[in-house]
Amino acid sequence: MSTDTRFHHDRVDLADLVAIADHEPVRRRAAGQAVGGAVILVLAGFVVAILVTNPGFDWPTVGRYLFDVSVLRGIAVTLELTIAAMSVGIVCGVVLAVLRQSGGPIPRSAATLYIWFFRGTPVLVQVLFWGFAASLFPRIGLGIPGGEFLVSWDTNEVIPIFAAAVLGLGFNEAAYVAEIVRGGLLSVPAGQSEAADALGLGRLATLRFVVLPQAMRAIIPPIGNQFISMLKMTSVVLVIGVGDLLESVTQIYSRNYRQIPLLIVASIWYLVMTTLLTLVQARLEKRFGRSLSRVGGTR
């Protein structure tokens, strides 16, 4: 190929190169980087200016309500709800995943049906359902279907509004957790459970000591995501009046009409909580990834 132009620039003598003082090339500066950086800084300046100059943000009010007792109480409720709903979700989700993975045809179909239903309807609708469960079943108890109750209780007493919120959010969450856990179980090579079988470990012991701990590596990052989205999703329960963080601030602004500063208060606290969760997640990931990290083979 005589028309090949790839090497048609000046030839250089190696000796000339060795003779120059500095053997390191002058680094190229990306031209776009400086311009892009300047644009972003200017935009950021605008944002700060708007935040400071627009009186509608009303920072004094934000400061006044940031540590308000009813806001702090709302935070506590939001955290309790998140933890309780995630616990329900994780326990039910693991059971569903195991049923789907290894149960007989009927358990497997039941688990699939569950996931289909709870993933297919909005969580807001599910929470409202649980909130209004009392109108559907005024009393719950034991008895023959279609006949009289032998023992029964008032539904509103058995399922107080907080429990309704936990069940609504938790049962919905279980459907997502089930899929995450199933993916995690599938990520563990079949040889691992075969080796456990060959050693005489039973099904449960194999799951508990061999498969689940290794599935954790694949499970923790998405579960961390779920935790964070659950923390925010708890705000939908304001529709049934549980008294979470968002409900606390909406109640305050329904009295003083300062919606924006109070929504900022809520946002600040949601950000604080999700940041903490992110840190916990990073720690857990590190812990379960330990045996696979390249450095530090022994502990």
Binding site: A195, D197, A198, L199, S291, T298, R299
Partner: protein, 258 residues
């Protein structure tokens, strides 16, 4: 050992196994005596690994039976019929058969020591000190006394396979099954694993080994079994089966691997 067993360790009779329409085992009869080392030879797809896996019931047998120490593993004889046994029962019976896999299958989230003590503690309910003491002894025996706190990912393939052997031995098996134990290893690591297996054979362990290592088979095996297309084509002393085979198919196979 609680009972001093006598008689053959493996008695297989007319073992059939199909995967879908593919008949992998077409009637295997085989006896392995106590303390004997049997090497299963044959091309891939000949059914040798499947047969090995049938012995500890990792694969279910479609027809025929396999007795280990005179006992059925995956089924029970009830009023003149074979009935499939409960999984928990199979699990318990299987714990007396050690198995070593081609891909080692060490538990990646556990240290070497934890790998070896897991089954003794969880299956035999041994106290930790007892399990650890035996594990340390076994790891020394396979030349890895200094690696007990390492994770599998930081060991070479040969070291991992030696840990896998120690892990199987920790259950004090009466029979050891090896499924191509050196096939996944770099050539320079094969020797260290074969050395451990040779020691084990010399100590009187009953072993059934699926292997392509003809040198090992010649040197260590009491019996070499050549399989082809789901049948035992010939069996006998390795010097006979490998050195002067009767059967045309054995000669063709050996011509390719030697």
């Amino acid at each position: 050992m609680t009972d001093v067993a006598t008689g053959p360790v493996i008695q297989a009779h007319d073992v059939h196994k199909s995967f879908g329409n593919l008949e992998v085992l077409k009637g295997i009869d085989l006896t392995v005596e106590r303390g004997e080392v049997v090497c299963l030879l044959g091309a891939s797809g000949s059914g040798k690994s499947t047969f090995l896996r049938c012995v500890n019931h990792l694969e279910t047998v479609d027809r025929g039976f396999i007795l280990v120490d005179g006992r059925l593993i995956g089924s029970d004889l009830v009023r003149g019929r074979l009935h499939e046994a409960r999984p928990s029962v199979v699990t318990e019976r299987r714990s007396r058969i050690g198995m070593v896999f081609q891909q080692f299958n060490l538990f990646g989230h556990m240290t070497v020591l934890e790998n070896v003590i897991l089954a003794p503690m969880r299956v035999k309910k041994e106290p930790r000190e007892v399990a650890v003491e035996r594990a340390v002894r076994l790891l020394r025996r396979v030349g890895l006394g200094n690696k007990q706190d390492s994770y599998p990912a930081h060991l070479s393939g040969g070291q991992q396979q030696r840990v896998a052997i120690a892990r199987a031995l920790a259950m004090e098996p009466t029979l050891m099954l090896f499924d191509e134990p050196t096939s996944a290893l770099d050539p320079e690591l094969v020797g260290e694993v074969l050395d451990v297996m040779r020691d084990l054979a010399a100590s009187g362990m009953t072993m059934m080994v699926v292997t392509h290592e003809m040198g090992f088979a010649r040197q260590v095996a009491g019996t070499a079994v050549f399989m082809s297309e789901g049948r035992v084509v010939e069996q006998g002393p390795p010097e006979k089966v490998i050195g002067a085979p009767d059967h045309e198919r054995t000669r063709a196979f050996l011509g390719k691997v030697l």
